[in-house]
Every structure is written in structure tokens, then in C-alpha cells.
């Protein structure tokens, strides 16, 4: 009796979820927009946070948030040596992807271009540069950065210095081997060196951080707003009365909505993953099943809150607007777009009390670090507890709201 009851509940849940998906599928423009949304979002974010490709030998060494900045070079020295240095600088700029370098005949012309905003900095090789270098004195280069944007300028200064250091070390090394044949110039120049070993396999791009976060965000936000819209729409148009006056368990009604909306949310999430993999070099190292499980828990952990808000709101616009009050801060506080460490302590506390923080964290560990069940168990336990607590409150509230 109980078994047949449970089987019937599962069956009608499937029937209702199928109806919701069929209803969705019939609205062609909705389906198209729904599919395009994650694609457009990922492409915009992809180019907002450019990442260095892993074939580059300098990958990860020179993280740039700006992409190739236009830099001018002016060779006032005009010697073979200065020409060589200018070439080397241009070469390094292009392999690291930091700057696009153009040479200018005079500083005046270059400064004009800076004023026009077409250059962000000028590197000057002053007269007497090669003379100093060949007589073993310290030679000096001059950098003029566009400090109308101080943040950009300081980043340019830092990056140009590191490139010049590489060139300078090359010069030093050749001198050392001239003076002391057989000695290791590296060891003399840099007796102690620090090498970075990657924790993350492959290259750690911003996208390895962003993509899992966006997946968790999309699946929860999509499901949440879908749930609210779908329940309130059925209530407003009156079809909910048809369901509620038929012998289906009330919790099956909620379960079916959850199932249908989660399926939609997951579709968007996997589009995000596919775009990230195809265009932005994201690789999945973990178990896809664990990913699906985590996303399901991500949805479940938030659905209770969504159902409570929808039930209390009673009508679509109120429900959607109230939900945004939660989803908007959630987007920024849950370590999805911005690292949570950037936030003041109280915002961090709020962020860490939202389930999205845990689902994004778990998903990131699975995708990037190939985390196994035991690595992410704490995250998943938080999600399960959240789901149980909120859903057990939500179901009676929903039932009461539809029989008011």
C-alpha cells in the first residue's frame, strides 16, 4: 500500500514535470532566449577576464587583467645595441601577451599619441645608452606611463620592470661568462630562486575559477526564478486548481516543479561549461556524476527559500522581485564572480551563510582539482542540511498558501 503510494507519487511527479518541460518546449522563442542567455553571458565574461593560453612559456607569470596594452618605444640612442634591446622588448611583450609595441621616431610624436589615448606608455632608450652599456656602467631606460589612470599606470610600470629585468639578466649573464668562463651565471645572479609549482593541473586561468561558479549560480538562479514563475503562473492562470483538485500528493506538485526547473537550469549550466571548454581553455578534471549531484544539491538547498517566497508572495511579479532581493547579493557575495577574500568580514559572513558559496566551492573543486567525494563532503553536508531545513519549512507553507 505504502509502496504503491510512493510509486504513484513518483509517477505523477514525472507526469507533471514532463508537462512543464513540454510547455516550455512549445514556447520556441523562450527556448531560444533561454539557450542564448548563458552563451552571451559567457562570451562577455570571457572577454572581460582574458586568460593566457597554456602553450605560452610565460603562462601565469605575467597575469594581466588588461590584455595587450599599446606601448610606444623611442630609440634615441640609435645604435646596434639599442636596436637589439628594443627588439628584445617587443619580442617579450608579444610572447607574454602584455603589450603591443610600436616604435616612434621621436618622444614628441609618442607623447602626442599618449594624449590622444592611443598609447598607454612610452619606453625611451636615451642617448648614451649603448655607451654606458659597453663601458660596463649602469645604463638607464626611461618609462613614461599614462598616469591619468594611476591603477593602469602602476600595473604598466610593474610589468615593464619585469620585462626589463629579464633583458637585463640576459646581459648580465653574458658578461659573467665573459669574466668567469665556466661559472653558472644563473647561480651568481640569483643564488636563491623561487619556483612556482602549479597546484591546479594545466594552466590556472581566471576561467577555471569563474566557470564552476557561474554554473552553480546559473543552475540555482535559473531554477529559483523558474520555480517562482511557474508556480505563480499556474496559480494565476487557474491551472493549479486543476492539479490541486485531483488526487495528487501536494509534495509531488513541488517535486515536479523542482525537477522540471532543475532540468532547465542544468541545461544552461552545461552550456556554460561547454563554452568555457571550447573557447576559454577550461578543462574538467573531475567526475561528471559528482558535478550533477552537486548541482542538484545546489538547487535543492535554495528551492525551499524560493518556494516560501513564492507562496507568501502569491503572485508572479511580487515573487520575482522578492527573489531578486536574495539572488542579487548572492551573486556577488558567494565567491562566484569575485573572490570572497576581497570582501569585508561581515559580507564574508553573509556570503558564507548562503548555500551558493558551498555549491560553487564544491563544483570548483570537482572541476579543477578532481576532488573526490571525501574532499567535498563538508560542502555537500552543508547543502543537504540547508535543503532539509528549508524544504521541510517550505512544503507546509506551500500547501497552506494554495488552500487559503
Amino acid at each position: 500500500m505504502i509502496r504503491t503510494g510512493a510509486r504513484r507519487a513518483i509517477y505523477v511527479t514525472m507526469v507533471m514535470a514532463h508537462k512543464d518541460l513540454l510547455d516550455f518546449w512549445k514556447a520556441k522563442m523562450l527556448v531560444v532566449s533561454f539557450t542564448l542567455f548563458p552563451i552571451v553571458m559567457m562570451i562577455i565574461f570571457g572577454y572581460m577576464f582574458p586568460s593566457i593560453t597554456s602553450t605560452n612559456p610565460y603562462a601565469g607569470k605575467f597575469p594581466s587583467q588588461y590584455g595587450r596594452l599599446p606601448i610606444g618605444i623611442v630609440d634615441e640612442d640609435g645604435s646596434r645595441i639599442s636596436e637589439g634591446i628594443a627588439d628584445q622588448f617587443a619580442q617579450l611583450s608579444s610572447t607574454t601577451g602584455l603589450f603591443s609595441v610600436r616604435s616612434f621616431a621621436s618622444l614628441e610624436v609618442a607623447k602626442d599619441k599618449m594624449t590622444e589615448g592611443k598609447l598607454k606608455g612610452v619606453l625611451v632608450i636615451p642617448q648614451g645608452f649603448s655607451g654606458a652599456l659597453s663601458s660596463n656602467r649602469q645604463a638607464t631606460l626611461i618609462l613614461i606611463a599614462d598616469d591619468t589612470n594611476p591603477q593602469l599606470a602602476s600595473s604598466i610600470i610593474g610589468q615593464v620592470s619585469s620585462l626589463i629585468r629579464i633583458i637585463s639578466e640576459g646581459v648580465a649573464a653574458s658578461r659573467i661568462s665573459d669574466i668567469a668562463a665556466g661559472a653558472d651565471p644563473e647561480a651568481l645572479l640569483e643564488p636563491i630562486s623561487l619556483e612556482r609549482e602549479p597546484f591546479v593541473k594545466g594552466s590556472a586561468t581566471t576561467f577555471q575559477f569563474l566557470a564552476p561558479g557561474f554554473m552553480a549560480l546559473t543552475v540555482t538562479m535559473g531554477t529559483l526564478s523558474g520555480l517562482a514563475a511557474s508556480i505563480s503562473r499556474e496559480r494565476e492562470q487557474g491551472t493549479l486548481d486543476g492539479i490541486m483538485s485531483s488526487p495528487v500528493p501536494r509534495y509531488a506538485v513541488i517535486a515536479s516543479k523542482l525537477l522540471a526547473q532543475t532540468a532547465r537550469g542544468m541545461l544552461q549550466s552545461f552550456i556554460i561549461l561547454a563554452i568555457s571548454m571550447l573557447f576559454f581553455g577550461v578543462r574538467v578534471y573531475g567526475n561528471p556524476l559528482l558535478m550533477v549531484l552537486t548541482m542538484f544539491l545546489a538547487v535543492l538547498s535554495f528551492s525551499g527559500i524560493g518556494i516560501i517566497i513564492t507562496s507568501i508572495a502569491g503572485e508572479q511579479e511580487t515573487a520575482m522581485t522578492s527573489l531578486m532581493l536574495i539572488t542579487m547579493p548572492m551573486t556577488f557575495l558567494s565567491n562566484v564572480v569575485f573572490p570572497i577574500e576581497q570582501l569585508p568580514w561581515f559580507l564574508q559572513a553573509i556570503g558564507k551563510s548562503l548555500p551558493l558559496y558551498y555549491s560553487a566551492d564544491a563544483l570548483r573543486k570537482i572541476i579543477v582539482l578532481n576532488a573526490q567525494m571525501h574532499h567535498i563532503a563538508p560542502d555537500l553536508i552543508v547543502l543537504v542540511l540547508y535543503s532539509l531545513a528549508t524544504l521541510s519549512a517550505a512544503i507546509p507553507i506551500f500547501v497552506r498558501s494554495v488552500s487559503r
Binding site: V12, G238, S245, P247
Partner: protein, 259 residues
């Protein structure tokens, strides 16, 4: 003959406003029972309670012998509902709509398929059965909406203003359909404020106002009692000639509700 519906002191309050006020009611098996009342009288609220969509604030009722609160699922198996709003999904076609609701009643396979075809034929929508019902005319939609409630052959059928806003042809069609539906001993509760409709279809009518039942009788009995030739006169005699939704009328309504 037994009773299809019995209500004892059935009451529904929204905050301090009483929409249905201690209603006692018995509807016999196999009869068409008309619920008449002006706008806001509480007809729909009464129907919503009897169809388990709303919990009564006070009182209780039995539908088909089952308690509407404690045995709601048993009630749901034997009732059919045509509500004020359409219970149909606009993007789905007629077949998809009916198949969906049929499955909710545990029907399936060939049995459901045949039933769906039969119902669609009954309301002459065969030619349109694969079109989304959002594109139907109101008459077509309402015809489908009525047969949607018949999928599981309910013993007791609730029709809440089934002919509202239809053209004369559609009204005629639906009324004839209702007469047909009583065959086989089905009980029908019909709410309306169209007097001809109540008179034409109902075995007995209840006139309800301010949430209270004022009289229950056969249309003939009522006319005889008030010495008038049509039900409309009885109705206006009992419920007054003033407009319902005028602000000055609301105050006494609430006051009566609190007594």
C-alpha cells in the same frame, strides 16, 4: 436516494470578512443543483471548499460521503471541477492537455487515448485537437474545459459559471451538454447568476447572498412561493435591487458577517 453533498455550518473568512457564513446544505445524488447569487455572494468560495481547494475556517462537509478535510484525497477521486478560470495550458494542444490531466487520475495507455478522443469528439474539436488551445475561440476553449473535468467519469461535477461570456450558440451547446452529463446518475452543482440557465437546468436551486443561503427549493416551488412568473423576480426580491460592489454596500455586508 442518498446525499451527494452535505454541509454543516460551512464557513470561510478572509481576515475579518466572512465570504461563506455557516452554510448548511444537502444535495441529493443525481440531481442538478443550482447555486444562485449575485457577484461576491460566496458561490465560488463555497465550491472551492467543497472541491478541497480551500480549507473551511469553520464547519465541515461531506462530498460523496467523504470528509472534505480529512478525506480530501477520496473526495478528489470522485469530483470533477469546471472552475471560473480555464484549467487548460494555452501552449499545449487539446490532446496534450487532456492526456496530462488524465494521467493525474492514474489513467494511461489505450484507455486514456480512447477517452481523450471520445471527449474531444463530444465537443466537436476533432479538427483542432492538435492546435495549441491558446489559439482557440472562447467557446472552443470552454467546451474543452468542460470535458477536461470528465476524464475520470466523476460522480459529482462542479460547474462554476460554465457559460459566462459565451455566445448564444456556445451557451446552448454547453447547456445541452450539461443535461446529457446527468445521465447515469451524476450529481451536478452549477453556479450561475443567469436565471434562465438555473431554471432550465436545475432540479433545485439555492439562492445565496452575503455568504448565506436564503432559500432552497425547486424553481417551480420558489415561483409559487413568491407568486411570480419567473425566477429573476424571486432573485431580486430576495437579494435586493442595489448594485453589489458599491462602497456603501460593503459596510453593512461586513457588519452582517460579524453578527
Amino acid at each position: 436516494m442518498g446525499l451527494a453533498i452535505e454541509a454543516f455550518g460551512l464557513t470561510k473568512r478572509f481576515g475579518s470578512f466572512t465570504a461563506v457564513d455557516h452554510v448548511d446544505l444537502s444535495v441529493k445524488e443525481g440531481e442538478i443543483f443550482g447555486l444562485l447569487g449575485p457577484n461576491g455572494a460566496g458561490k465560488s468560495t463555497l465550491v472551492r471548499m467543497l472541491t478541497t481547494l480551500m480549507r473551511p475556517t469553520e464547519g465541515t462537509a461531506k462530498v460523496g460521503g467523504y470528509d472534505i478535510v480529512n478525506q480530501a484525497d477520496e473526495v478528489r477521486k470522485i469530483i470533477g471541477l469546471v472552475a471560473e478560470k480555464l484549467i487548460l495550458y494555452p501552449r499545449l494542444n487539446a490532446v496534450e492537455n487532456l492526456m496530462f490531466f488524465g494521467r493525474l487520475y492514474g489513467m494511461g495507455g489505450e484507455e486514456l487515448r480512447r477517452k481523450v478522443d471520445e471527449l474531444i469528439e463530444m465537443v466537436r474539436l476533432e479538427r483542432f485537437k492538435h492546435f495549441p488551445i491558446g489559439g482557440y475561440s472562447s467557446g472552443m476553449r470552454q467546451r474543452l474545459n468542460v470535458v477536461r473535468a470528465l476524464l475520470h467519469d466523476p460522480k459529482i461535477l462542479f460547474l462554476d459559471e460554465p457559460t459566462a461570456m459565451l455566445d448564444p450558440q456556445s451557451i446552448r451547446f454547453i447547456r445541452d451538454l450539461i443535461k446529457d452529463l446527468r445521465k447515469g446518475g451524476r450529481t451536478i452543482i452549477l453556479t450561475t447568476h443567469i436565471m434562465d440557465e438555473a431554471e432550465e437546468l436545475s432540479d433545485r436551486v439555492a439562492i445565496i447572498d452575503h455568504g448565506r443561503i436564503l432559500v432552497v427549493d425547486t424553481p417551480e416551488g420558489l415561483k409559487a412561493r413568491f407568486g411570480v412568473s419567473n425566477l429573476l423576480e424571486v432573485f431580486l426580491e430576495l437579494t435586493g435591487r442595489d448594485l453589489r460592489d458599491r462602497a456603501e454596500n460593503r459596510v453593512p455586508i461586513r457588519a452582517i458577517g460579524r453578527v
